[in-house]
């Protein structure tokens, strides 16, 4: 009897904590959706800011974020994938590789502001790229690189060894085996990593603060050397700069909703792909 009461008590406690969690997260999402919907319109997405950032739309920030993410993936994907393939398929298995793997996975949890510092020192100043899409894109690329390497490597190592054996035994070369058997089989896992990296790159603020983003930029970016507006930085700037906090907050709600939906859609896609393919080789 006593045991039953104890169980009842603790299970209630657990349920309450889950309810509190749900409540907290629902409140946040509710506020952003409710106020964001009021701010968003077709014009909001497609037009430029007006009246000293108190009216108009945020299209330059959307375009800027798109450019930054595209640049980041363009740099990090070939590097990260090649690195993962080399480490998993070619490199001799020894302690140096283990150290590299541990190092890479550790870098994935380094605070993003530290990557911002790196980008500022190396890309903006040392290489003289200035505050630009190039600098910001490279910084974001380095930020997501460990993620891409780790997830791709996990995806490759999840491909059963027997597939490689079968292909080699048929007279395929190692590269043929990797390209035609291993990579296709690992594709869902690799894709999941890329999509999550896109979401991460799109949402990060600290790394682009000093390397790419500005509060206001007239017109579209004309080259990868131009500075840009970006959604996450725009939210920050709207809340901390400018002269009309009330009107700016409304616009920030709109930006937050766009960013939230964008990242949520990307991660749903990633979760979906992963769950769909998770167990396909387990027999």
């Amino acid at each position: 009897m006593k045991n039953k009461i104890i169980q009842q008590f603790f299970f209630s406690l657990i349920t309450i904590s889950a309810l509190i969690t749900a409540l907290f997260l629902l409140i946040i999402i509710f506020f952003i959706f409710k106020n964001g919907f009021n701010a968003i319109s077709w014009e909001f997405i497609t037009s430029v800011p007006k009246n000293g950032m108190t009216a108009g739309g945020v299209s330059p920030a959307i375009i800027g974020s798109f450019c930054l993410v595209a640049a980041a993936i363009l740099f990090s994907l070939p590097l990260g994938l090649a690195c993962a393939v080399y480490l998993q398929e070619y490199s001799p298995k020894n302690y140096i590789v283990d150290i590299v793997k541990t190092g890479v996975s550790n870098l994935a949890s380094v605070p993003s502001v530290v990557f911002g510092l790196f980008g500022l020192a190396v890309f903006v100043k040392f290489f003289g790229f200035g505050v630009s899409i190039l600098s910001g894109g490279l910084t974001l690329a380095i930020l997501v690189l460990p993620n891409i390497i780790t997830t791709s490597q996990e995806a490759l190592s999840a491909v059963p060894y027997s597939f490689r054996e079968a292909s080699l035994a048929l007279g395929a070369t190692q590269w043929q085996t990797i390209r035609k058997v291993v990579l296709p089989a690992a594709l869902p896992g690799i894709l999941t990593g890329i999509i999550l990296s896109i979401g991460r790159a799109a949402g990060e603020t600290a790394p682009i603060m000093f390397t790419a983003a500005v509060f206001y930029k007239k017109g579209r970016p004309d080259s990868i050397m131009s500075e840009v507006m970006a959604l996450p930085y725009h939210i920050y700037a709207l809340m901390t700069e400018g002269v009309n906090p009330e009107k700016q907050t409304v616009i920030a709600y709109g930006c937050a909703l766009i960013l939230l939906v964008l990242v949520a859609v990307l991660s749903s896609l990633a979760v979906f792909i992963r769950n769909k393919y998770r167990s396909s080789y387990e027999r």
């Binding site: 027997s162 079968a166 035994a169 048929l170 007279g171 395929a172 058997v181 396909s280």
Partner: protein, 253 residues
């Protein structure tokens, strides 16, 4: 029936790092015959079969001495084209391992990696080898379905067909029925017996009955040594070596 030697193994020693896995092995593999390799786990039978198509290269620290003559060449030579060798000597593994592709693509794979682009030839080959592997009737209507949807026995026959498609002359079977039910096993054995008309076949097995049912020759290995090699009939009825007798009567292994 020819009595031609297909593979001649002389004074073969094999090492994994410092561990010697095979000790001075001498054995002749006959063409159009089935040779069974038996022995307790760790005796080196799987290592030996993997030397024939140089799959043993994939293990770090592997080193082979001696000679394994196939087609007039010592396949242990570093100058040998492993890719060509593996096309001539196919392998079927313990666990069916079809690629996560369609049935058609599984067979076509070996042809495509060898640069074959002739679609109608590939189509012809797929049908021909599936027929040879006694799988055609089961799958002819679903060639574009995933191979992973087949049953274990069907998957294994697909893997056999896949090896036949690249014009293999020798087929290595590494415990091909270890993960199959008795009915599938019987079908695979039937298929192996049929294949012997055109191929030299080497089969590693834990199953004594299987060895006695399908093979012409049997080699008994123990701790890296080839203890006894002879016709299956002789090995199973009048083994010369007492070790062989003990093993066959189930005293160890």
């Amino acid at each position: 029936m020819s009595d031609e030697i297909k593979i001649k193994v002389s004074n073969l020693n094999f090492y994994y790092g410092k561990m010697q896995a095979l000790k001075n092995i001498n054995i002749d593999i006959m063409d159009k015959k089935i040779t069974a390799l038996i022995g307790p786990s760790g005796c080196g039978k799987s290592t030996l079969i993997r030397i024939f198509n140089r799959m043993c290269d994939l293990v770090i620290g592997a080193k082979a001495e001696g000679s394994v003559i196939f087609d007039g060449e010592n396949i242990l030579n570093s100058s040998i084209d492993i890719v060509k060798l593996r096309q001539k000597i196919g392998m079927v593994f313990q666990k069916p391992n079809p690629f996560p592709k369609t049935i058609f693509q599984n067979i076509a794979y070996g042809l495509e990696i060898n640069g074959c682009k002739d679609k109608s030839f590939i189509k012809f080959k797929v049908e021909e080898t599936l027929k040879k592997a006694a799988l055609w009737e089961d799958v002819k209507d679903r060639l574009n379905d995933s191979a992973l949807g087949l049953s274990g026995g069907q998957q294994q026959r697909l893997c056999i067909a896949r090896a036949l498609a690249v014009e293999a002359q020798v087929i290595l079977f590494d415990e091909p029925c270890a993960s199959l039910d008795p009915i599938s096993t019987a079908k695979i054995e039937e298929l192996i017996l049929e294949l012997q008309n055109n191929y030299a076949i080497i089969i590693v097995t834990h199953n004594m009955q299987q060895a006695s049912r399908v093979s012409d020759y049997t080699a008994f290995m123990y701790l890296g040594d080839l203890i006894e090699f002879g016709s299956t009939n002789q090995i199973f009825t009048v083994p010369k070596n007492p070790k062989t007798e003990e093993y066959l009567s189930g005293k160890f292994g």
